[in-house]
């Protein structure tokens, strides 16, 4: 049974500390009372000592800020006598199929948050697809994990009994412990390893998690009932994962449940009540939302962003579209939308004005000789921006196909990180929601973004006469640090010209 080391209460007014320094590494053998980390509060720095002999398992990385009482690491006492050799040499010296590597580790496979992308530091467990105590097979998808960029599926790293450590909606750093899999005999391991497994599990005896995991003690059961928390939402820290009275006392209703917070009456300033509801609701930001917030603010702070506008007469494109849309659909299986026209026009214009397709990297400007167009897709989780690669080379139908594919994946939360990274220019269409005019925010490190809007019939003057035409306003926000006004304005005019005269798209003039 691992001993959880929690952030101790260090002073009356201190509610959180930052892990300044881990003096021991994950997997190190530590001794009782040995200093294992330095913690920093806003008042002082102090040392954290090990509360037991054993093997250290770090749950919160250096630099993270954790509230008082939160578990920051665990010490597995039993393992102290037999410190495991570091993983890398072990696999290097024994040329075994890669899968078996995960099966060792004393009959329990600890699954940690994998490194999913360069800039990703934490993930949120969005859904557990398997329950505590379920039997899972190697590579079977057991959970959905959400990062600020994408949702990805978490496959089991071993065959055995699942023991969930991180609960749904919990946010973990890369390398944080997600779950443990108690490896059962079914996995095809080699002979000597099997021996090792049984030896270890026998020595650890009844302390392994078991059928009784999640079983509340009589007192715990009463407390949980009174709190209205189902036992399966509580992490049992007793022998074999049993829920102890202490677990029940500490258990808190899951915060994502709106029902929990809904009931709190507002205690705001005295307002003469009209009898209507005065309730407020508080929900924790998802990591996706937090990242969106952080990045949008930083773009505003770190770039010299401004916007130029223009308008497009959409009649030529609309005429062309209504003329060919049935044939197009029949031939390619996708509808002919506006996105392909805009993408093609943008790609052509980017060739003429490479600064708009560039980005700033330190003291250098990075020019891209290709057009990877990010298209903003609104999903229930927030805005995502999948990328159409080498859009300049794609035909209309290929672009339309890509748009449909990426938008569908986006809405289903199935986009991979790769599909969302590396765009060189963005298109966003606020028009679908009815926006007439807006100033889009850059999608860093890109230097420009084109905003499409709704198409409205407006009176315009053509050849000295007032005529009714379907008009769309266009907005181009750009980073003035590397894109000059001449370039940005000319770029947008170029886009306008090509859209108003689609023949130019073919001829490249």
């Amino acid at each position: 049974m691992a001993i959880q080391i929690k952030v101790p209460t260090v002073g009356e007014s201190i509610s959180e500390v930052t892990i300044a320094n881990w003096l021991k590494k994950d997997g190190d053998v530590v001794k009782l009372d040995e200093v294992i980390a330095e913690l920093e509060s806003d008042k002082a720095t102090f040392e954290l000592t090990a509360q037991s002999d054993g093997v250290l398992k770090i749950l919160k990385q250096q630099g993270t800020t954790v509230p008082i009482g939160e578990t920051i690491c665990e010490i597995e006492p039993g393992a102290a006598q037999a410190p495991q050799p570091p993983k890398a040499p072990a696999t290097a010296s024994t040329p075994q199929p890669q899968k078996t590597e995960s099966k060792v580790s004393g009959g329990i496979k600890e699954m940690k948050v994998p490194a999913v992308g360069e800039s990703i530091t934490e993930v949120t467990i969005s859904t557990w697809l398997k329950k505590e105590g379920d039997f899972v097979k190697l590579d079977e998808v057991i959970a959905e994990v959400e990062s600020d960029k994408a949702t990805f599926e978490l496959p089991a790293e071993a065959t055995g009994i699942l023991h969930i450590v991180a609960k749904e909606k919990e946010t973990l750093p890369i390398g944080g412990l997600i779950c443990k899999i108690e490896i059962t005999g079914e996995s095809p391991v080699t002979e000597p390893q099997e021996k090792k497994e049984t030896a270890v599990s026998a020595s650890s005896g009844g302390s392994d998690k078991s059928y009784a995991a999640g079983h509340p003690s009589p007192a715990a059961a009463k407390i949980l009932s009174e709190k209205g928390i189902p036992a399966n939402q509580v992490q049992g820290n007793g022998v074999g994962g049993r829920i102890t009275k202490e677990d029940a006392v500490k258990a808190q209703p899951s915060t994502t449940k709106p029902a929990e917070t809904k009931a709190q009456p507002s205690q705001a300033a005295p307002v003469i009540s009209s009898g209507g509801s005065r309730n407020i609701r508080k929900e924790k930001m998802t990591s996706l939302r937090k990242t969106i917030a952080k990045r949008l603010v930083s773009v505003k702070n770190e770039t010299a962003m401004l916007t130029t506008f223009n308008e497009v007469d959409m009649k030529p494109i609309m005429d062309m579209r209504s003329k060919y849309k049935d044939q197009f659909k029949e031939k390619y299986g996708v509808g002919l939308g506006f996105m392909s026209f805009f993408t093609k026009a943008v790609c052509a214009a980017l060739k003429d004005f490479p600064a708009v397709n560039a980005s700033v990297e330190g003291d250098e400007i990075v020019y891209h000789d290709y057009c990877d167009i990010s298209i903003a897709v609104s999903t229930p989780r927030g805005l995502v921006v999948p990328v159409i690669r080498n859009a300049e080379l794609l035909s209309f139908n290929q672009i339309e196909g890509e748009v449909v594919r990426l938008a569908t994946k986006g809405r289903d939360g199935k986009l991979s990180i790769e599909e969302m990274t590396g765009g060189t220019f963005s298109i966003t269409n606020g028009g679908v929601f009815g926006s007439m005019l807006s100033t889009p925010i850059l999608n860093p490190p890109q230097s420009a973004i084109l905003g499409m809007h709704n198409i409205v019939e407006r009176p315009v003057v053509k050849n000295g006469e007032i005529v009714v035409r379907p008009i769309m306003y266009l907005a181009l926000s750009y980073d003035h640090r590397i894109v000059d006004g001449r370039e940005s304005v000319s770029f947008l005019v170029r886009v306008k010209e090509m859209l108003e005269d689609p023949g130019r798209l073919i001829l490249g003039v």
Binding site: G205, G206, S210, Y211, A212, H215, S217, P218, A221, K222, S225, E226, G238, V239, R242
Partner: protein
């Protein structure tokens, strides 16, 4: 008077409910129609029968075992009057204890028969006919049960007796016939067998203590026979007649053979039935089903403010079950959410040796089709049991075949009633047989038999057999 809670009946269910109510801040009254508090358990049940069981045990030890222990005394004689008097003293000190507890918890004790006028009003009629009324927000019915008579031979309380009379006999019967080989029959039968009576047990079913694990009944039968009791299983009693100086019983075996027994007393212990006479349930619209008051999972009746606990509701008729329910209802009323795991309410028979069990019986597991394993360990192989010459009995552990979780603990043997608490604890925490087997048990103790039986259940590896 106005109360938050009024409890009707002061048995172990009622008085415990009243104490818990008082602890939780309710203004509480308890109504009792008898002169003393404590109900059947304290006055004519558990406590007096245990008092006599212990007396008879001392006697049998003095008579049969002292010699072997190296204690020579002249042949001991039973002074039944003193034995009954000591029993009454034990009862008195216990019921006085309850009176003290009521006082300590500021619970008003209302002497008389409680009867509903409406759901918030109860009339209390004292033995001298004086009537008072109390109004109450909530009511807990805890009126318990009474011995069931034979339909063709009601208790005459002289020759055809119930457990109540069996506890106050002034002579030792020369031949006591016991109808019903359940808990009460076996307990009182063994008392008189040891005091020198010839005891014959006639049971309708095919085993003694039939609700318990089959092994327990068989083991108890062996011991009872050793004690000199005659046991007729599978016999249906057809007639019991009080002939003045003696009582004559006729029973029929399954093969139609007629059994005729003559004795001086006939103890009818075929069960108990819920007691709700004079309670005025019709005034509040509660209808009993087979005598029981129907309740929901919160022990609430069909009337919103009226609860019922103990022997008047479904479940085993056990004092400790009623106590749990008393606490449960009180806490429920206070808005808490307590639990009762009925599977883990232990059943105990205070014969010698005692029988105690918790969880599923082997028969139940078979019916469920559940894969299980068994581990048993006999007292004979136990150092402690040999030292005290209490070598009758065994411990039987039933565990899940796959998970090793303990599913049932069954003990017949010395101290079984005390030992079963360990089984309850283990099962409440869903321990496996190996868990218990790996816990240190002090030596030499009877509890070592539990550990050994767990070892046997784990992987058939007991150490001392």
């Amino acid at each position: 008077m106005q109360y938050n809670v009024t409890v009707i009946g002061s048995g172990p269910g009622g008085y415990v409910a009243a104490i818990r109510c008082a602890q939780l801040g309710f203004k509480t009254a308890i109504i009792e129609k008898y002169d003393t508090l404590g109900g059947t358990c304290l006055n004519v049940g558990c406590i007096p029968s245990k008092a006599l069981l212990d007396s008879s045990e001392h006697f049998i030890n003095a008579k049969e075992h002292f010699k072997e222990h190296g204690i020579d005394i002249p042949a001991p004689k039973v002074n039944i009057k003193q034995m009954i008097k000591r029993k009454e003293d034990v009862v008195k000190s216990n019921v006085d204890g309850i009176a003290f507890l009521m006082k300590k918890n500021k619970i008003d004790v209302l002497k008389g028969t409680g009867s509903f006028i409406d759901k918030n009003t109860i009339k209390v009629t004292s033995s001298d006919g004086k009537e008072t009324q109390v109004t109450t927000d909530k009511v807990i019915i805890a009126t318990g049960s009474k011995p069931t008579p034979l339909p063709f031979a009601p208790f005459d309380k002289k020759r055809i007796i119930s457990s109540t009379e069996a506890l106050t006999l002034t002579e030792i019967p020369s031949h006591l016939i016991v109808i019903g080989g359940g808990v009460i029959g076996m307990e009182l039968g063994s008392v008189y067998a040891r005091l020198g009576s010839k005891v014959t047990v006639v049971e309708f079913l095919d085993s003694l203590i039939p609700t318990m694990d089959g092994t327990m009944g068989k083991e108890l039968q062996k011991v009872a026979k050793k004690m000199g009791m005659d046991i007729y299983l599978g016999h249906k009693v057809t007639a019991v007649e009080n002939k003045g100086k003696e009582v004559v019983l006729k029973a029929e075996a399954k093969d139609g053979k007629v059994l005729e027994l003559k004795g001086d007393y006939c103890l009818v212990s075929i069960g108990r039935k819920p007691y709700t006479d004079g309670l005025g349930l019709d005034k509040v619209g509660i209808e009993t089903v087979k005598g029981q008051i129907p309740v929901d999972d919160h022990l609430k009746t069909n009337v919103d403010n009226i609860y019922a606990i103990g022997d008047v509701v479904r479940g085993a008729m056990l004092a400790h079950k009623a106590e749990e329910e008393g606490v449960f209802v009180a806490e429920q009323m206070a808005g808490q959410k307590p639990h009762i795991n009925y599977l883990l309410i232990p059943g105990v028979v205070y014969t010698w040796p005692e029988v105690a069990s918790v969880g599923y019986t082997e028969e139940q597991l078979k019916n469920q089709g559940r894969a299980y394993k068994t581990g048993t360990f006999p007292y004979k192989a136990l150092g402690r049991a040999r030292a005290s010459m209490d070598t009758d009995g065994l411990v039987k552990i039933l565990a899940d075949k796959q998970t090793d979780e303990i599913l049932g603990v069954h003990i017949v043997g010395a101290r079984a009633a005390d030992m079963i608490a360990a089984g309850v604890t283990a099962m409440e925490f869903r321990a496996s047989a190996e868990d218990v087997a790996r816990m240190s048990h002090a030596h030499p103790t009877y509890m070592e038999a539990v550990k050994e039986a767990c070892l046997a259940a784990t992987a058939n590896r007991p150490l001392h057999i």
